[in-house]
Amino acid sequence: MNVDVLIELVKSDLKSKYKNAFLGFLWIIFEPLLIMLILYLVFNRFIRFDMPYYPLYLLSGITVWRIFVNSTTGSLTSLQRNRDLVLKVRIKRILLPLSSVCSSVLTGIFEIVIYVLFFAIIKKSIHVEFLLTIPFLFVYSLCLAGISFILSIVYIYIRDIKPAWDVFVQALFFLCPIFYPLSLIPIKYITYYLLNPVAVFIIGFQNILYKGIMPDITVLINSLFFSIIVFIIGIMLFKFLENGMVKRI
């Protein structure tokens, strides 16, 4: 039954976002492509990174990055936006941030499919390793859900985290290998650089989607454990703060 609610919430979210736009669901294709185009024009002209198929590199990074940004910023205000659902209906409240994450991940899946089509057109081949995206995306989603549970409920207590998170996300963009290659980071800083979980996920996805190779197995296992821990902490914190949240919202 909770699954039914989740499905309806995600459907409602996606439909209201795209249904009324003149181009409708086509925006799922245009949005990442246009952002890719801007970055490509900027960086190919001013700072040249010597990378083969640079547009593909950009697009793979942007797609994964967008899943992170959309799901966290969307879920941050999800309880506040649905105040009435929290206060007047018996609904599992954790479904509200979760549905935000689900619709962002779902949009992301479409974007990845577009990417693969793009890849096939440019390189005239695809890799069987692409299939690894599915389990890796699942692990990524677990992590995002955990972060989203924490953000959504803490937001009700501390409203400052919304502007703070917006700034933080802007900064984080430059700390992820999206428009520059990882090799640009000096070796002595790489350990610190990889403390950023979003960067680790992006590198993993780039290995699969851009290079067509399987990521390092220890990276996979570490990400899995990391995500499960974040997810569990998220649920526990949400449950712990839930009753107080209802009185504060």
């Binding site: 609610v5 309806e8 439909k15 007047k88």
Partner: protein, 375 residues
């Protein structure tokens, strides 16, 4: 032995209202309340605004958790604390039935099964493909109620939701509720309509400032509440206008403020004309204690003439009180210009008075002089 479906034991709920940076102020919304509700019973909760009624319903629904005490509920509970909560205005009526239905706890399959019943009950068949944002507020509520009522609850929690929507649909909803009651569903009801309360409830609880004051037979509790309403502080007098004519003295003859329901009261208003105004319209408005406007007569509408005020003058208005039910009432006074748009003087809540007698009709302030003949 009747089955107990709700047991509330010594429940307490505090809110911590932030004031200043790290300080909070404690506000006890529900203070040590215990009661029981039995299967098939309709229990109403009454009280002033802010007395804790909605908080109480939220606690029973499980939306809020009590700080102290316990609540046990046996059976499927569906709160109607607002209709159409979670409707997405960008989606069609049909899509919203599924969205709202699952939110109210129905599995998708079940919604498909009862979908036609829902549409039929709402009388909105022609509009199901329209976006909800195109709906009128009445249609919105109708769809909301229709979905909610098809969730087959054992316990229904209704908070003032019937106050909206058109009259015919309200009656339809009431009929449905009565029917559910006879199917031994339990109903918890909050309303400001004392007529509905006395008509349908089996038992009434009166809350005030978070405490349970009285519990018992509908009429006893409602009467107690009506008496409490009489003792409510009088709203502050609020005066506006250009001041070209002002009321200098106003009140009932001999300063009376209590009348029997068959008396005729005499309202005496003295005025001073400060700037040689030649035509003016005096009038007054009568309000019930809930702020409902009952009547607002003025000289022009009643007698087709203006007041030609001298320097000082007096207006006497005879009011036969026979049309009012016992209760507390307020009078606002007005002295308007000849267009009846701009006030020379307007005094909100200038006079208050009480009608005494036996209450025979709880539904509103008007007592009609109907005659009965039965065979």
């Amino acid at each position: 032995m009747r089955k107990r479906v709700i047991e509330a034991n010594n429940i307490v709920l505090n809110y911590h209202i932030p004031c200043g940076l790290f300080k909070t102020e404690k506000l006890t919304a529900v203070n040590n309340i215990s009661f029981e509700v039995y299967e098939g019973e309709m229990l109403s909760i009454i009280g002033f605004n802010g007395s804790g009624k909605t908080t109480m319903l939220s606690l029973i629904s499980g939306i809020l958790k009590p700080d102290k005490g316990s609540i046990n509920v046996h059976g499927r509970i569906v709160p109607f604390l607002g209709l159409g909560i979670g409707f997405n205005p960008e989606l069609s009526g049909k899509e919203n039935v599924f969205l709202y239905g699952t939110i109210m706890g129905l599995p998708r399959k079940e919604i498909m099964r009862v979908y036609d019943d829902i549409v039929e009950f709402s009388e909105l068949k022609k509009f199901m493909h329209l976006k909800i944002k195109e709906y009128s507020s009445g249609m919105y509520v109708r769809l909301g109620f229709s979905v909610a009522i098809h969730t087959h609850p054992d316990i229904l929690i209704i908070d003032e939701v019937l106050a909206v929507g058109d009259y015919a649909f309200q009656q339809k909803c009431l009929n449905k509720i009565v029917q559910m009651k006879s199917d031994s569903k339990t109903i918890l009801f909050v309303s400001h309509n004392m007529g509905l309360i006395t008509r349908f409830s089996d038992r009434v609880i009166l809350l005030n400032e978070g405490k349970l004051i009285l519990e018992g037979e509908p009429e006893t509790v409602v009467n107690k509440f009506m008496n409490m309403r009489k003792e409510m502080p009088i709203p502050e007098i609020n005066r506006r206008g250009s001041g070209q004519i002002i009321y200098t003295e106003y009140g009932f003859k001999n300063d009376r403020d209590e009348f029997a329901d068959n008396e005729t009261a005499l309202l005496i208003l003295k005025y001073t004309n400060n700037s040689k105004i030649e035509k003016a319209i005096p009038g007054f408005a009568l309000y019930s204690d809930t702020g409902q406007l009952i009547t607002g007569p003025n000289l022009l509408d009643y007698e087709k003439r203006f007041l030609n005020p001298g320097k000082n003058g007096e207006i006497r208005i005879k009011i036969p009180m026979g049309f009012l039910n016992p209760g507390k009432y307020y009078i606002s006074l007005g002295m308007y210009d000849k267009t009846n748009r701009f006030p020379y003087d307007h005094i909100e809540y200038a006079v208050n008075f009480t009608i005494t007698g036996e209450i025979r009709d709880y539904s509103g302030p008007i007592k009609s002089n109907i005659e009965w003949e039965t065979k």
